[in-house]
Amino acid sequence: MTDLYRLFVESILSQNIALMFILGMCPLIAVSTSVKNAKGMGIAVIFVVSITAMINYPIYLLLRATGTTNIQLLVFIATIAATVQFLEMFIDKFFPALYNAFGLFLPLITVNCAILAVSLFFVNRTYTFVETTTFAVGSGIGWALAIILVAGLREKMAKTSDVPKGLAGKGIVFIVLGILSLAFIGFTGLVS
């Protein structure tokens, strides 16, 4: 139980998938211009990453049993694309209010590498199903945390700071990310 708890906290803080493994950067930089959008994107990622990891795990077991792990990439990406499409239709039909809040971000998620990475990491690290689920939910929350933090800083920065011309726009986001990343290293060893 403590192992699961540690895995969960580590995947949010000291092993944060966005700040430590540098995954899902394209959407993180593109969508973090306002806190409102960042929240929508973050929630969408938490949903999709948890669901796809849980679906991909039994599929991986099937591939391993039949000795066809060579095509795991193709299968995983197909699962992710199909899940995202299904979620979009499902939410649009049954929860229109929710769809207005973050439905716009769902199609973008297929090309978010954090989603595919979680599915590849559980293969590389030989997690069990429970560990995979914990890791996936934690990673989703960690990614959402990172994008909301960056968006908050960018909103403040747009009003008050005098950014050098060459760094304006996306360049300064990397400096912000670097400092956040340094701070998150500080969480190492929080849960022993």
Binding site: L23, G166, F174
Partner: protein, 208 residues
């Protein structure tokens, strides 16, 4: 006279776009994940750059070849399957011939699939252009990506380990700057790199 005319050909424009004007990493800020995660060693950067170049060229060619037969509604899924196929080729090749580099790159080889550059070139260029231009565009973008990766990796490897391609270049008293090998170092080096390129090319991004 010939040189001046060369400036206006499509070939010249394609290479200028890929290598400097619209460099996928420095100006487009695409494909950052792999650009930062694997650049703590120069050898990893070279392997990753060449792998991505191969995937861009091969998948763009394929998309361009069948562009008239892809129904617009399912084009994204089609691109995805084509790209995934070539990524599997790269992955198997690295595992068979360069097992050490394959182990160091780990899951990041598989993540070439979600590299926005590959998808971006398929959608923005290959779907509209004949094969010979597509081939050249893929090559220019792939090499534009590779040289930025290698430059970033050079700075990071020298500062983090004091070596280049595992040969010691720094004097004995050099204290390794370990944080450069970790994520923050990558972010800072790339930010400075973008700054330099934008100042040199006078290509500034307007403040939103």
């Amino acid at each position: 006279m010939k040189l001046i005319r060369l400036k206006y050909t499509k070939w010249f424009n394609i290479s200028k776009n890929g290598l400097s004007q619209n460099n996928p990493i420095a100006i487009g800020v695409l494909g950052i994940c792999s650009a930062l995660a694997v650049t703590n060693r120069v050898e990893n950067a070279i392997a990753m750059g060449l792998g991505v170049t191969f995937v861009i060229v091969a998948s763009s060619l394929m998309v361009s070849m069948i562009r008239r037969f892809i129904p617009p509604r399912v084009r994204m899924v089609t691109y995805m399957v084509i790209i995934a196929t070539f990524v599997i080729v790269v992955q198997l090749f690295l595992e068979a011939f360069f097992p050490i580099i394959a182990a160091a790159l780990g899951a990041y080889v598989g993540l070439i699939i979600t590299n926005c550059i590959v998808m971006g070139r398929a959608e923005a260029f290959a779907a509209k252009n004949p094969m010979r231009f597509t081939f050249y565009d893929g090559l220019a973008n792939g090499l534009g990506y590779t040289y930025v990766l290698i430059l970033v990796a050079l700075v990071r490897e020298v500062l983090a380990f004091g070596t280049i391609l595992n040969y010691q270049v720094m004097p004995d008293g050099f204290v390794n700057w370990t944080v450069m090998a970790m994520a923050p170092g990558g972010f800072f080096v790339l930010a400075i790199f973008i700054w330099i390129i934008r100042e040199l090319t006078n290509n500034y991004e307007l403040q939103q």
